[in-house]
Symmetry: C2
Subunit: 181 residues, 2 copies
Amino acid sequence: MNVRTLCLSILHEGDATGYEIRRLCVDGECSYFIEASFGSIYPALARLESEGLVSSRTEQQDGKPTKKVYSITPAGRDAFVQELSEPLGEETFRSPFLLFARFAHLLPRDLVEARANEFLRERSERNKIVTAAKATSMNACDAWVINYGRAMMGVAEEYLRAHMHELIALARAEPNKDAAE
Amino acid sequence: MNVRTLCLSILHEGDATGYEIRRLCVDGECSYFIEASFGSIYPALARLESEGLVSSRTEQQDGKPTKKVYSITPAGRDAFVQELSEPLGEETFRSPFLLFARFAHLLPRDLVEARANEFLRERSERNKIVTAAKATSMNACDAWVINYGRAMMGVAEEYLRAHMHELIALARAEPNKDAAE
DNA sequence: CCGGCATATATCGATCCGACATACCCGGCC
DNA sequence: GGCCGGGTATGTCGGATCGATATATGCCGG
């Protein structure tokens, strides 16, 4: 699932700028299973335009920089459906925190506690965004996907809240201040 | 969380070859939150060796190609703990299937049904691996992490099993065979 | 006996991320 | 008034990473 397809999927639902696509990835309701950075979105949009799958127009705004609004073309819609029909890539889930947690016994308790709290807070905030998305003004497929995410991320938060103190208890009791530089 | 750190984390638990590290990422109990390909593991190991954080020895085997077994050095252990103490990266979760599912209404029912079944089967097999991992011969931190994964992936499987028929029902009824080339 | 599969190492092009550069306006603050 | 931080917006660039491929060997089944 490359950034090209991601851009087409968003433009399929309506016009957007590169900046807005990025925001949807970070803050949107689908932020829990989609991701892309500026460094890949802008080149992807430029390439899509050169291939005739999207078109763009510049819009002046006062008080804000000029923006470049992209629209999907009929050829783009076809290419998108075609792409979805091809075999799907693997699901990837990568969690630096879980790698950290596996080695909690090597690390000072203060650090483990701090990281666990950060992690819970971030998870909790993300979940609030997804839970806040109201089912009205959302098609049935979107609702299905959002509920999938809600279910998964909900138990993640619950597990953390219920068991994080166990993890903290497993951490090294003495920070061993001599080792600190 | 780069591949370097991932390699150090595995070598911290015991010696391994590049090939074995890859296998642990794909089939191991932590396969649900860790990933790396040959294309990044081998260069990472070479660089770690040049920096003195790991050492290697070649081992002849009969019936199998010669292998290069890596061990972590004391400097490597220090660097690993140091790396874990630094701020953690963001969690990333990317799911081509969920992107596909958002647009189920555009796609023929047969295809949606086939992909949903594939996805459930893969999820289910992964879960069996993680559930099969016995708590004995596992330290408490590992158990904590495995249980986190079990909880998340468990509900993912349940949700799929319970609701996939709803998604299939949302797909396009007629495959529209004229459109197929 | 030949093709497919598992073991094992390694490279290479394409993709993608993360940090930075640039630019403008707004609001707060000393 | 000046200055800094933050939001909006586009884009580049180096490095990290992926996915496919190359190479080699030996085993097993048809």
